[in-house]
Symmetry: C2
Subunit: 339 residues, 2 copies
């Protein structure tokens, strides 16, 4: 086992001082060509690489960024991570991923763990528990220490930091508008509770489009599911009593699930009833019929978040100005609506 070689090792072998080795490896002008060549050859031979930890300690920069998200088994977050990874790697940063699993406590613990020097900044999306609780002290502490934070998707106004969001209201709006233009008369929505900021915004967009139309808003047509868990009977009962001719679902799962239900009861998609979901994941693409969705552009979101964070990390000035980037959602048309 050939253990990692250090500057000290090289210095000892070559009988020069550590700083000479250090300078030689950086091609410093101060060092003679002879010595440089000797040192560099030796370093290459033994595959010398500087120790990241030592450099981190010295520079007070780790070149790591912490990503804290509620759930990784969720296509949207997964694409965001990929975007972050790509961008961060290109700028020489590593990504430490921590999962809150929708738990406030885990979110706090993970952030504290990382905040003690392990990372130069955070990119995060709040757990649903945190959003329900409305307790953001862990975020406050981190920002007060001068650690940059970028919040994405599930954000809060209580914290001053950079933010990246999809215009979820617009997403709900354009989807509903699409239904209206196609002459649908009973447009329903299946969503979660208002505690999830995104669900709330999407529902508002839905309501806005309806109130601008001659159809008007009818609260009976909105089903608020108490949790992200599927509840077969609630949805079934809702669809059977309300008999909508179009349904906007706050996520893919609700949509695909609802489509199966109505298909079993003999309805034809998209003629008898049309569907639009949120999140352009595998499910939508391979559903039968394939699902029209409001695409969230997660990868783009990840890239933008990473860029904002790293720019802030590397900026000298202590600017206290924060911006919120709003990405526009787009409709990906598939078979679940008329063309």
């Amino acid at each position: 086992m050939k253990t990692k070689i250090t500057l000290k090792d090289i210095a000892r072998e070559l009988e020069v001082s550590i700083s000479t080795v250090s300078k030689a490896l950086k091609n410093s002008e101060e060092i003679s060509r002879d010595t440089k060549e000797k040192v560099q050859a030796f370093a290459k031979l033994y595959n010398y690489k500087p120790n990241n930890i030592a450099i981190s300690l010295k520079n007070k920069r780790t070149k790591n960024i912490g990503v804290v998200i509620p759930d990784i088994v969720h296509h949207f977050f997964t694409t965001v991570i990929r975007g972050i990874e790509k961008y961060a790697n290109a700028r020489g940063y590593n990504v430490i991923v921590c999962l809150s699993e929708e738990s406030f406590d885990k979110e706090v613990i993970n952030m504290e763990m990382l905040a003690n020097g392990s990372i130069d900044g955070f990119i995060m999306s709040l757990s649903s528990e945190t959003q329900q609780k409305g307790d953001y002290n862990h975020l406050k502490e981190v920002t007060e220490q001068g650690i940059p934070v970028v919040l994405f998707d599930r954000i809060t106004n209580e914290i001053d930091c950079d933010k990246v969001v999809i215009d979820d209201e617009l997403g709900g709006y354009i989807a509903t508008k699409k239904f209206i233009e196609q002459g649908k008369r009973k447009i329903a929505m299946i969503t979660t509770g208002d505690y999830l900021s995104v669900s709330k915004a999407r529902t508002m967009g839905y309501q806005k489009a309806l109130s601008e139309s001659s159809l008007g808003v009818n609260d009976d047509l909105v089903l608020k599911m108490p949790s992200m868990e599927m509840d077969e009977n609630r949805i079934k009962e809702f669809l059977e009593t309300q008999k909508p001719d179009a349904v906007l679902c706050v996520n893919e799962i609700f949509a695909v699930y609802s489509m199966r239900l109505v298909q079993k009861s003999g309805l034809k998609i998209p003629d008898d009833i049309s569907f639009i979901g949120f999140t352009d994941g595998v499910l939508s693409k391979y559903a039968n019929p394939s699902l029209t969705v409001v695409a969230q552009h997660g990868e783009k979101m990840g890239e933008v978040s990473a860029k904002m964070l790293i720019d802030k990390i590397e900026s000298e000035e202590e600017e206290e100005t924060y911006q919120t980037k709003i990405l526009e959602p787009t409709l990906v048309i598939r078979e679940s609506i008329n063309q």
Copy 2:
């Protein structure tokens, strides 16, 4: 902005030495009760937390583990990460995720980046390019440096290290066996090239089950797709010429896609033709009909990998003994086959 407080800061404020502070915070017997109380109160007040980087430098242990995988937008890998995360976090480790995106070069770069002190060990699954190339020098270098490595799923025999795999051959075997028991006569398989170790093993299991039966192996019934990309026409042509009554697909996508094709041509699933796929992801669950799959138990795999790695990291002895854990796949029965 209240910047992080250090031992030195506390020592200065309380007019004691740094080492006294350090000991007091560890409740050392050497320190008087008075001093301890004073120091601990002060530390709590200013929310002192030791700097991870300094501790890493001192201990030569980072409490980070590096995970290098080909792709994160893939349900199986995602579940593995979750398993790793859960287990690693519980033992106080953080997870640094790097994506090779199926590229040999990226795999090498990422590993080198992490190997210079950022992590205590690797958990990884090889990129397809690496497996095709058969070049494992980057892994050799890392293991020779004494950094523990656990390979999972996409592994190689060229490297001596701990490994965790699903018994993919068994998976192919039990799925095919199931078809045979149900009286299927023309059992086809849609797979990728042999360069992916898992595909190869699954195909071998398929062949084994057939050769043990009266049906025998017929190479015309095996479609090897040149890449993971979907190629509509290849599959369509294959299904139309061979007209199988059962199809085993090496992944979810192939399966769901094939099901749509046969449904469009009027066949009934599962009576006219049955399907089994690999990987128990969202796609299978919500497909129409829902897809019977050979479940890979990714989360379990992640946990086992993390346990093996951390045990090795924390074991004193320099045991050169490596083990390969083989997890058993199970069949998750859904609507795409007869019950």
